[in-house]
Amino acid sequence: MEQVIVTVLLGFLAATAVAVIRIKNLFAIVMLFGVYSLLCASVFLIMDAGDVAFTEAAVGAGITTVLMLSTVALTGSAIRIDKGSDKRNKLMPLALVTLTGLALVWGTLDIPPYSDPAAPVHQHVAPRYIEDSPQEIGIPNMVASVLASYRGFDTLGEVAVVFTAGLGVLMLLGRKKRKDQNKS
């Protein structure tokens, strides 16, 4: 049953991706990106990654859509299509994409099966977190104890990145407002 749901969701994902490529209206594309994020969140949820699904739904489908729409409101929602682009040779890009896709599929043959407990990724630090975090940290959500305590330094870096992003937007786009205030 799970397999069926995942397959249907991945099919929707592929259909959304194709629609994003074919549609020429930026407003519709932004909305489709939101749909794409929500589908991703559903897939993560089925894979029991509740925290990741939560983040994907809140950030990907929520905030990103609003920010993209604000950007589209600044730029206008029509794509300028280069007339000459239809006449260019399309075989080379097609060959490149097919080769890359085949290489990626070939790469997945080495990946251990999904949720295999013997996979190398589950043998590194995960056993220590699972065995010791109830005594060391004592909170039920192990993701939170890894994120905020064991990997607290990384999360500090992430917060600094978010802060820097806000500063960057303010410095690049926040100037016009200051000029207006000086005038009035």
Partner: protein, 139 residues
């Protein structure tokens, strides 16, 4: 800014619930999925919804830009401050064991404070970005 009464009443009804849910995600992050990042984004989306429906001026009156910038900085400062305090108490940077009488409650306190810092910064930055973009849209 919309004149649609349905949108206004729905937003008025939803915004407090969204904020309450954000606080739940923030302070319940140790027991269920969620934490500072998700809570911050959800709280910001409540304010952005208010801005979309009632106008950015109304939203700016609630949360002025000067306050948001300080809030964003305060979040990072709180996070780093927890690390510095744990160092001053004789431990390692961001090792919360010494923050309270026993290591486990120290970890609890540290995680709650750190997640609060994350939530403050993420909320403020998301709202800042929305306000700046919305401001550019006005002639």
């Amino acid at each position: 800014m919309t004149r649609d009464p349905v949108l206004k009443i729905t937003a008025k009804f939803l915004i407090p619930l969204i904020m309450l849910f954000a606080l739940y995600v923030q302070f319940h992050g140790e027991y269920s999925p969620g934490g500072g990042f998700q809570a911050g984004v959800i709280f910001a989306s409540a304010i952005i919804l208010y801005g979309l429906v009632f106008g950015v001026e109304a939203a700016s009156a609630v949360l002025p830009m000067s306050f948001l910038i300080r809030q964003a900085a305060a979040g990072v400062l709180l996070y780093g401050g927890v690390g510095v305090v744990s160092m001053l108490l004789g431990g390692q940077f961001l090792n919360y064991n010494l923050l309270a009488a026993d290591p486990v409650s120290g970890q609890h306190l540290g995680i709650i404070l750190v997640e609060l810092g994350v939530g403050l910064t993420v909320t403020a930055v998301m709202v800042i970005i929305f306000f700046v973009f919305a401001d550019r849209n006005r002639p």
